[in-house]
């Protein structure tokens, strides 16, 4: 799968230099945030590896010979995290979860789906959730699914049963 929905900024060379003017930088980071989210949504990528990202087309425009340096990538990720759209997978912050919908949003979507399809009070497997073909969370990363379900669990709206391949959830 290739990504084609590049914004105008992607062909604007200074987009790849973190801007010194704070107002301009705020606009720049906003454009980066929406590009990163849209890119991950379109390609269904849940995890971003910082060292790989430097080489990925997302941050490296080969045609322009411009790339966002890793400090820049970290800044983009930190600013995504502030909005609940990203979260480091490890303490070293070398890998990040990218949430094009925030976890509470995912949780709501899954709960609504369960209600609409009459699955409350019965167990459905994580596999079923990830294969609900008409849903936004179709093909979503399992870690992210579990994180979203944990939020429902915290609200007593679901209970997770984690058992390897047979993992499932009971919605209330």
């Amino acid at each position: 799968m290739t990504y084609s929905n590049w914004p105008w900024q992607y062909s604007f060379p200074p987009f790849f230099t973190i801007q010194p003017n704070l107002e301009t930088r705020a606009k720049q980071l906003e454009a980066w945030r929406s590009l990163v989210l849209d890119y991950h949504r379109a390609l269904k990528l849940a995890v971003l590896d910082v060292s790989e990202a430097e080489r990925s087309e997302l941050f490296n425009n080969a045609k322009l010979q411009r790339k966002l340096p890793s400090e820049g990538i970290i800044q983009v990720l930190e600013s995504l995290a502030k909005n609940g759209n990203a979260e480091p997978c490890n303490k070293a912050k070398t890998r990040w979860y990218i949430y094009w919908h925030t976890l509470p949003e995912w949780a709501d979507k899954m709960y609504n789906w369960a209600q609409e399809t009459g699955q409350t009070n019965s167990v459905c497997t994580l596999f079923e959730i990830m294969n609900a073909s008409d849903q936004d969370f179709y093909g979503l990363n399992e870690d992210v699914v579990i994180k979203a379900l944990r939020i429902l669990e915290g609200k007593q709206k679901a209970e997770l049963i984690l058992d390897g391949e047979n993992s499932g959830v009971k919605f209330f």
Partner: protein
């Protein structure tokens, strides 16, 4: 020729002068009377004309341009006031409406161009926003200039920067641009690029390094341009307002 001398001659001369004077003021008076009559007729005709062609004024760009030219040549500004003699023409209304729309477009695009927009882009966006009917589409660059100039009354937050070759930029952020900043914009436009550098300014404008850097730094500070540190030779300064992908972006 022998001149007449004596008291009689002097009296005669005085009497003649008096006659000329009387005749002169008589002529002046009749001229004035005639002129006010003409003006009255002109006014009546103009009002009649305006009444009949009110819609035409709003719709027809060529007419507006000719009218503007006529006014300029006789030193009248039909936009000076919304009231009075000229208001009957509805010319003012047209431009006031346009001014408001210009401000709207400038505010709406500020997020990407930092408050600097080319008049061409402004026109494209206005036309899109004004709707499809023909009268809304026929907005000329002259119309926009007239309308945008009216916005000067709001102080230096709004100005028109000529950048040569009949091109203009409209600046909609507070903070006046100096001669040097205008020169930077002109030079950038002149080279047909959206970027400029210190060495280009040194070569083309004969500036020293300090002067070029100071001007560019100021424009970065004002959010009018972005810096690109990944060019192999030197830092490039980019203007989104002149970058074609930015201009055509929504």
């Amino acid at each position: 020729m022998r001149r007449s001398a004596g008291i009689g001659a002097i009296h005669k001369q005085k009497k003649e002068q008096g006659k000329y004077k009387d005749k002169g003021s008589e002529l002046q008076e009749s001229q004035l009377e005639q002129m006010s009559k003409q003006l009255e007729v002109f006014r009546i005709n103009l009002e009649e004309f305006a009444g009949k062609h009110r819609n035409e004024i709003k719709k027809n760009a060529t007419f507006r341009r000719q009218f503007q030219e006529m006014c300029a040549s006789i030193g009248v500004d039909p936009l000076a006031s919304g009231k009075g003699f000229w208001s009957v023409l509805g010319i003012g209304d047209f431009y006031f409406e346009l001014s408001v729309q210009i401000v709207e477009v400038c505010l709406a695009t500020n997020y990407k161009n930092g408050g600097l927009i080319s008049l061409d882009e402004l026109r494209q966006r206005l036309i899109k926003a004004r709707g499809r009917s023909k009268q809304h589409q026929e907005i000329t660059i002259e119309d926009l200039l007239s309308a945008a100039r009216k916005l000067r009354i709001f102080g230096n937050g709004f100005s028109i920067v000529p950048i040569g070759k009949g091109q203009y930029l409209v600046q909609s952020v507070p903070g006046e641009l100096s001669m040097d900043h205008t020169a930077v914009l002109q030079q950038t436009a002149n080279l047909g690029n959206a970027n400029i550098s210190i060495s280009i300014l040194k070569t083309h404008l004969n500036w020293d390094h300090e002067r070029a850097k100071k001007a560019l730094d100021h424009m970065v500070k004002e959010g009018l341009c972005w810096i690109d540190e990944q060019n192999t030779r030197e830092i490039l300064y980019w203007f989104p307002s002149m970058f074609s992908e930015c201009i055509t972006a929504r």
